[in-house]
Amino acid sequence: MTHRNEIRILLNGADVAVRDVPADRTLLDYIRLERRLTGTKEGCAEGDCGACTVLVGRLHDGVLKYETVNACIRFLASLNACHIVTIEHLRGEGGGLHPIQQAMVDFHGSQCGFCTPGFVMSLYALWMENPSPTETEVETAIQGNLCRCTGYQPIVAAAMAANQYGTPANDFLTLEREEITQRLSALDDGRRIVTSPKDNRAIIPANVEDLAEVLTETPEATIIAGATDVGLWVTKFMKPISPAVFINHLNDLKSIKLTDTSLEIGAGVTYSEAQDAIRDAFPHLEAYWDRIAGQQVRNMGTIGGNIANGSPIGDTPPVLIALGATITLRRGQEQRSLPLEDFFIEYGKQDRASGEFVETIVIPRPISGQLNAAYKISKRRDEDISSVAAGFSVTVENGLITDCRIAFGGMAGTPQRAKAAEAALRGQPWNAATFAAAGKALETDFAPLTDWRASAQYRTSVARNLMQRFFLSMDDQTAEPAELLSA
């Protein structure tokens, strides 16, 4: 089949085919500059403020699902066969204000108004899924939206009251669901898309087999899943990304298999998509998961990408290494597996050969006697990058620590296991003294850096204290830390 050079989207009410989409064209620039849909704002161009929040509807196995995304770091080329809904499209039952908009007006949820369209979109997405949210659910839904004027109180109040203004059953997107589904299906013809121009080319493979082929042909390609990192290469550093291969749409990489012994996750599964399975298989990650970035980034970013980009401060590697996760890499038809911890060689260097891509992540489920915990320490509780992140998996039998895996992020150039601390625990009795000794041993494991997130001294202190935290919280489940603080 020949390739096509055309991204086809549904933009608000209109079918739009865009030819020659540059790989690095962001959705935000497209809608503001080319379509003059100026209700969506640029606040930071790095996916942290939410002023550019729009909804993206996509068919997942034929089912239409809308999610918030940050238009500033989402590439237009990644949106083939998607429905993009901007603030201009919202309307209420009678054609006036949408229930969310009316609630925001009535509760005085805007002051300067610049962040407001983004908040409306985030709250709209929440209301569609969960019209009667708790306060915590509202806060979680707007973790990725900054407001500098209101202090948030009226915005949260508006969100809590939104269901009194209308029900999702009568919402325009609900009523148009079938029609939109059909129109989106019609946009996807199963062909590979290759856009021009040549020096700024986007490749959208048809499926995972096609991806393997594309990467064999163009091993130098930038692989883009959620674009939550690569987006910044463009918006912040103006780095060329061509040729760029987009994989976020590939259903083959979106499988989630939960068995008695493991959870197997496709590399293209987003944090949001993985959430339920993660909670079921690893209850200790439930709260931690909500602290990965903000909602928009969780809707875009993938676990595979979090691993493949090799960051020493990614949220998932430490907790996955502690659980003993392995990953599968693929090149062409060749596949190989390796323990996740071995993937990270040194800062900026991973065990990924040219043309290879991460295909799946396999996380063993806890065995009996295995105690697990995950901690994230950051300057701000939500939507922040960790100063220190830690995963603990410690197996205790008859009062003795028989096995343990403890991994830290933010303590070295890569996410790393605390080998000396583990050695200090293994075979030792389960008590405070053992963990104090392991905390001391951490000093030989890590010599962290000082940067703007935290000093070396703080990282060292916190890592040591987390050994104590783990012991205390596991030793007595009713011990005081409870709901407080480090997830």
């Binding site: 002023a51 005081e480 407080l484």
Partner: protein, 780 residues
């Protein structure tokens, strides 16, 4: 006098004063139809500018090679200092120390050196990276201490406030404590960054749309830099996506670059830095290092204070003079210092020139005052609230009402305000419960603090306390309102329209709110110092009263009744026995050739200030407030949560309670952010590394207090004749966030049995909290 019956209001119209009128743009905000500067449709041929910046903190500029910039795709040209037709200076206080582009040396990392003009913003931005600058690197000093050590000068004249003999009193006092406090700066993080969009016109004319709190200054700067009279330059601003002081002087650079380029190429030119450049190239709240020396008696009553306030001003003066002055004006917060000496040290540093930010130096002064209170409390083993009450200003009768700048505090409501909050928040019982909790709990420690704020209202630059307005009544009865204030989210336009609606007794909807423009009201002051509605509200009232007088005179003559029988009420005008609609009266007045346009004016009475003597009455009145915050601290990680905050705040008789409450809530959260998670971090090379929301963390919804109760002191009424006896609201509640800082301090102090002041520096990040906990534990 005209405004004697100033607190009487009639609420039969819609949008009456003293009612909860929603923000006039609320529907446009939620639908995305509110236009900000970047949303204005660009005419064909619009060019885009971007700044090229320095990559060292301090050095001589040997050569700037822009050849690669000029040959980059889409580039039309560049601007350097050589292209400035008029004066290469945008110093807002006339100190001639802030070039548009420097010629000889660069004085901070990220300083704009030139601008690229290109067909697209992206082309300009990419090309700006291609300059080849040859520097002779000089040593740099990044903070006030380094600068002092390196012998750097002050950027502007320091201030001294003195009363009594603090030296003698410090020597003879029963107790004396010296300490040092570091207070971090703060980025404004307005959601809409800087932007300017210039359109060239005939002759010397240029129109600049921009996001600024100070259109008149932008106008004057553009004229100054172009070398043309001010009457050639028009500056427009419909609304800002937040300002907070960051757009009081910092837009000058962007406005002049756009204007120079627009005139040079005779094409519209827009400039919009990205967030990183906005944060690195424009100023922020001043960091301070405060050295304090406080003497007190056994009851904790302060006898003398000596305070030195060194500020990181950056490379130029900008507004650092008045900012550091205001730090001293508020170094007393709510407390009487019998003997006092306060000095400012506005240090030059190799960092971006710091500027106005909500509170304008005042908050740093207040934090220092509260630190001294804490020191006394922990030294004596008492509740800090008790020490606060012991030291509150009194009144004339007890002689404890004189500030360090010799203004008498005549409107003190602290005792009542604090008393009510103490009761309503159940402070005493909760504090007791917290002490008991902390005695039991080893890991989670709690703290509670009830802190006051007293904030002086008026620009300390006395001539700034003036405002103008312009109101037209069209012959269909519709009203066009314009004034010199700018809208940045605070609801100023709403309040001013309410005042006009009230004066003319017509519905709010009849009044068209229009963009601020230097064409309609000249020589305006910045919308700053919380003064927006005090000044512009009065100026609008003046114009409305003039129009009303003319209409009354016309009605009296036309209907042949006495003027005092003409009464405006609920869109009608009662004229003797007859009632006519406002529209009809206007129509008839027009036909009778009555002038239906009026310019209003206002200047604040009573104020004067002699800076050299450190004496006067710089403030027309004071606003007051208090907050009680409770926190939980995890002493293993330093993380914390704000459990509860109760606020009682004084806005006099509120013009619009719901908007005022919004200001109080937002200011509290912003103040809390300043003192908790918002950390500016420069690396050793002088490069700001927290330069975008990914690295600079302002509060999120989940950082709000878990319980948050905000009330206005409804009984309060301004003693002075302000507009409807209201009080300013923009800045004072910012300092309520200090209650969180003090509560964190108490939680930390608990690990050493409250016998040692934790001396937390700000911002109290989890890191600072944990390190303080570990320091106190190690010491006890």
């Amino acid at each position: 006098m005209k405004h004697d019956k100033i607190t009487e209001t009639d609420q039969s119209i819609s949008g009456a004063v003293q009612t909860d009128r929603r923000h006039d743009s609320a529907e446009k905000h939620v639908t995305g139809q509110a236009d900000y500067c970047d949303d204005i449709a660009e005419p064909y041929g619009t060019l885009h500018a971007y700044l090229g910046v320095s990559t060292i903190a301090h050095g001589l500029i040997r050569n700037v090679d822009l050849s690669k910039v000029l040959s980059a795709p889409g580039v039309v040209g560049v601007l350097t200092a050589d292209d400035v037709p008029g004066s290469n200076d945008i110093s807002p206080t006339g100190q001639n120390d802030e070039p548009v582009f420097p010629t000889e040396k660069t004085e901070f990392f990220g300083q704009p050196l030139f601008a690229v003009i290109a067909e697209t913003r992206e082309a300009a931005r990419r090309a700006a990276e291609l300059a080849n600058v040859d520097y002779e690197v000089l040593p740099h000093a990044l903070d006030p201490l380094e600068a002092t050590e390196a012998g750097y000068p002050f950027v502007t004249a320091p201030l001294k406030l003195e009363r009594g003999d603090s030296k003698a009193a410090l020597k003879t006092a029963e107790h004396r404590i010296k300490g040092q406090l570091n207070i971090g700066g703060q980025d404004h993080m307005y959601l809409e960054g800087h932007i300017a969009f210039a359109l060239p016109g005939e002759d010397d004319d240029v129109v600049v749309h921009c996001s600024t709190q100070h259109p008149s200054e932008a106008q004057h700067m553009v004229a100054h830099v172009l070398g043309v009279p001010s009457n050639a330059v028009t500056v427009n601003v419909r609304r800002m996506g937040g300002g907070f002081g960051g757009k009081e002087s910092q837009m000058n650079l962007f406005c002049v670059v756009a204007a120079i380029a627009a005139k040079k190429w005779n094409r519209p030119v827009k400039i919009r830095p990205d967030r990183d450049q906005d944060m690195t190239a424009t100023g922020k709240r001043h960091d301070f290092v405060v050295d304090y020396d406080v003497a007190f008696d056994g009851d904790g009553r302060i006898q003398a204070v000596d305070g030195s306030f060194a500020a990181r001003c950056g490379y130029s003066s900008d507004l650092s003079g008045p900012v550091t002055d205001r730090a001293l004006f508020h170094a007393d917060n709510a407390y009487f210092y019998p003997n006092v000496r306060l000095t400012s040290r506005p240090m030059k540093t190799n960092t971006v020139s710091n500027t106005a930010f909500r509170g304008f130096g005042g908050p740093q002064g207040v934090v220092a005052a509260e630190r001294m209170i804490e020191e006394i409390a922990y030294a004596l083993g008492k509740d800090p609230l008790e020490i606060r009450k012991t030291n509150f200003y009194g009144d004339r009768t007890d002689g404890r009402n004189l500030t360090p700048y010799h203004q008498e505090v005549e409107d003190n409501i602290l005792h009542r305000l604090i008393g009510e909050l103490e009761t309503n928040s159940d402070y005493q019982a909760r504090r007791q419960a917290i002490l008991e909790h902390n005695a039991r709990s080893t890991i989670i420690k709690k703290g509670i603090a009830l802190t006051p704020v007293k904030f002086g209202i008026s620009f300390t630059a006395t001539w700034y306390n003036q405002a103008g307005s312009l109101i037209h009544i069209y012959n269909d009865g519709s009203i066009h309102l314009n004034h010199g204030g700018t809208e940045m989210g605070q609801g100023l336009n709403t309040k001013v329209a309410q005042i006009v609606a009230d004066a003319l007794q017509v519905d709010f909807e009849r009044i068209k709110i229009t963009k601020t423009t230097t064409e309609k009201v000249p020589n305006t002051s910045a919308t700053a110092a919380s003064s927006g509605s005090d000044l512009n509200g009065m100026a609008a009232l003046d114009a409305a009263e003039q129009l009303k007088e003319r209409l009354v005179a016309f009605a009296a003559e036309n209907w042949n009744v006495s003027p005092d029988t003409v009464v405006f009420r609920n869109n009608m005008v009662q004229i003797g026995q007859e009632a006519v609609s406002f529209d009809d009266l206007v129509r008839k007045a027009y036909m009778a050739r009555v002038h239906l346009s009026a310019a209003g004016f206002y200047k604040t009475p009573k104020i004067h200030w002699d800076r050299a003597a450190g004496k006067g009455r710089p403030f027309y009145y004071y606003s007051y407030g208090a907050a009680c915050s409770e926190v939980s601290v995890d002493t293993l990680t330093g993380e914390y949560r704000i459990e509860q905050t109760d606020i009682l705040h004084d806005v006099g008789r509120s013009l619009n309670p719901i908007l005022d409450k919004g200001q109080v809530e937002g200011a509290f959260i912003q103040g809390m952010g300043w003192l908790t998670t918002e950390e500016l971090w420069w690396d050793k090379a002088g490069r700001l590394r927290t330069h975008a929301p990914s690295t600079y963390k302002i509060p999120l919804a989940s950082d709000r207090p878990r319980k948050f109760d905000v009330r206005l002191a409804e009984w309060s009424e301004n003693k002075e004749r302000t507009i409807k006896r209201s009080k300013a609201v923009g800045e004072p509640p910012f300092m309520l966030g200090i209650s969180v800082f003090e509560a964190l301090s108490m939680a930390v102090a608990s690990v050493a049995e409250y016998r040692e002041c934790p001396r937390l520096d700000a911002p109290a990040t989890p890191e600072r909290v944990l390190l303080a906990v570990e320091r106190l534990r190690a010491g006890s």
